[in-house]
């Protein structure tokens, strides 16, 4: 039988915040779940509509399910948000390298780790938080949102790290008023982290990268680019000489510092280089 995609059935749907939705997807064939790891991504195909990349926040072979959390940004995510339990979606992948966990597994409680997420960028960090806390390491998590209306996963993450969770909102409607970057700056004054991971809007990541590099803290960040083929051939997701779908989407600090486009430019579907605006 020729099969190009894995068929998944939506089993539950949740509105996480104003524009953010979660779907749990059941797969009869769980092969796609076996190759998942934190930070890798899958391509979601909605026939007749669109295909786009998403990084699952949960995947489990036993229950043969995957949970996808996404923000409505275009036609595809809008259509996905309007879908309901019982409907089918088609998935290929996973693609990309994902977060590299091995360099930190040997660390002890005395060497704390930091995870920073901004907005919907928090979703792909959930499996990482899960893996790290399983090894009972000292983990601090900073999540930044625009306002209390945009928050999600706060309770889930609190269950993992307790008081080590810092929430920030731009308008101060929940947690500390300010950005995740501000909160990390304060945290770095008090604590020495041995390693950091981050995902979120690129201006935030760029500022974090500068800050962490200055402090000599090695880190990995999950970047986002326009993805067409996800196979490393079309070149739509290239950042300098690196393909997001092959060499990324997670890059470590040694690569990040070599990327002249990081924090400055992204590419439109045509490949035109466009400045990244810090909104």
């Amino acid at each position: 039988m020729a099969r190009y995609y894995f068929k998944g059935i939506i089993t539950s749907k949740k509105k996480e915040s104003e524009n953010v939705f979660s779907h749990t997807i059941f797969f009869e064939d769980n092969k796609i779940l076996r190759k998942m790891k934190p930070g890798r991504f899958v391509m979601i195909w909605l026939p007749g509509c669109d295909e786009f990349p998403l990084s699952p926040l949960f995947y489990d072979i036993t229950s043969s399910t995957m949970r996808l959390t996404f923000k409505i940004v275009g036609l595809g995510t809008k259509a996905l948000a309007s879908m309901n339990p019982g409907q089918a979606i088609f998935v290929r992948g996973p693609y990309g390298n994902g977060f590299a966990i091995p360099p930190i597994t040997g660390l002890s409680r005395e060497k704390p780790l930091l995870i920073v997420g901004g907005g919907v960028g928090i979703a792909p960090l959930l499996p990482l938080i899960h893996v790290i806390t399983k090894n009972s390491l000292d983990l601090h998590v900073v999540c930044g949102f625009r306002s209390i209306l945009d928050t999600f996963f706060v309770d889930e993450i609190y269950r993992f790290v307790g008081e080590n969770l810092t929430i920030t909102t731009d308008d101060g409607s929940m947690g500390i008023k300010g950005t995740a970057v501000n909160a990390v700056r304060e945290l770095l004054k008090r604590k020495h982290f041995s390693y950091a991971f981050a995902c979120g809007p690129e201006p935030m990541l760029f500022k974090l990268h500068k800050m962490l590099s200055y402090k000599g803290i090695p880190h990995q960040m999950l970047l986002e680019r326009y993805v067409k083929c996800a196979l490393g051939v079309c070149g739509s997701c290239v950042i300098d000489g690196f393909r997001l779908c092959k060499e990324g989407p997670v890059f470590d600090n040694t690569v990040l510092k070599r990327l002249s486009e990081f924090g400055c430019f992204k590419r439109l579907p045509s490949g035109i280089k466009e400045p990244i605006v810090d909104s």
Partner: protein, 301 residues
């Protein structure tokens, strides 16, 4: 042992080039492909205006190749050239072939003129055969139109003009026409119009339904075309279509290609494929006691 080959005024360190459409949307990837071992790199086909290409999905992985319908997504010639100029020093050391696509003869001419003026490329490759863009395909079906576009482009450039042809019933007539009107080499073949249906979704996978099949699935067809063109013409030929192993390179050279282009194999085996192919070719030549790679060209005739 010499692996050097010459195609018109283009001298290459060995016969294995990067094909158009693979990673050529950004100059940074062209530089990477050259540093990884390609002897020359061909850009993504450039059009006069930026093109977003087709909506996703635009690609399907198959056991014997890839089916793609990217739809000539590219930043447009001016934006691309501007980006090339940012890394002009690096690019000037690399043999770059600029691939051009258009919907009218005037567009091919204008793009060729702009590229030639900036002095960045070593050759032009006219894409007359993109299998999933209807307007481009017209040129490869009509010998008169193909001849006209080649003649008009040759009038505005001093760069060698390669013509990339696809499968068509009147291929010999098309090649005959473009050779008479100034083509310096023929690149054959483009990907082959094809489709797939996902039986669970019960729909064609590609948003544009049809796409171009590349990879090992089309190799015997591409090889046949090169063999046939070598029998009929004395113009340099560049073979492309499913070259994955060094044995494929040898086959294409023996069929009559002076050089080959590699595309889908970069997806299968990564950038290391160029060095692996060159190494395999070298070993074969050593074993066969061949001193010059040009001695292989057309050997099977």
């Amino acid at each position: 042992m010499s692996l050097r080959v010459t195609i018109a005024s283009l001298t290459l360190r060995h016969p294995i080039m990067l094909a158009s459409g693979i990673l050529g949307t950004t100059p940074s990837m062209l530089i990477k492909a050259y540093k990884s071992g390609a002897s020359a790199v061909v850009t993504k086909s450039l059009t006069i205006n930026p093109r977003n290409g087709n909506p996703n999905p635009v690609i399907v992985e198959l056991r014997y190749g890839l089916l793609n319908a990217i739809g000539l997504a590219n930043p447009g010639v001016e934006n691309y050239l501007a980006e090339c100029l940012e890394v002009k020093d690096d690019l000037s050391r690399i043999p770059i072939v600029f691939s051009i696509a258009g919907t009218k003869i005037e567009e091919y001419v204008e793009i060729a003129r702009l590229i030639s003026e900036r002095g960045l490329g070593r050759a032009l490759e006219l894409n007359l055969s993109c299998p999933h863009v209807q307007e481009t395909r017209l040129f490869t079906e009509d010998p008169k139109l193909a001849a006209q576009v080649v003649k008009s482009v040759c009038d505005v450039t001093s760069l060698p003009v390669f013509v990339k042809v696809g499968l068509s019933t009147n291929l010999i007539d098309v090649v005959n026409a473009v050779v008479k009107h100034g083509a310096s080499a023929i690149t054959a073949i483009n990907s082959v119009r094809a489709m797939v249906i996902d039986i669970n979704a019960k729909k064609p996978v590609l948003s544009s339904v049809y796409g171009g099949l590349s990879g090992p699935a089309i190799k015997p067809i591409a090889l046949r075309v090169i063999y046939e063109l070598y029998e009929n013409f004395s113009i340099p030929l560049i073979g492309v279509g499913g070259i994955t192993k060094w044995q494929d390179v040898v086959e294409f050279l023996m069929a009559g290609a002076s050089a080959v282009q590699v595309g889908t194999a970069v997806y299968k085996r990564g950038f290391r494929v160029f060095k692996e192919l060159v190494r395999g070719l070298q070993r074969y030549m050593e074993k066969e006691g061949l001193k010059d790679v040009r001695d292989l060209v057309g050997l099977a005739h």
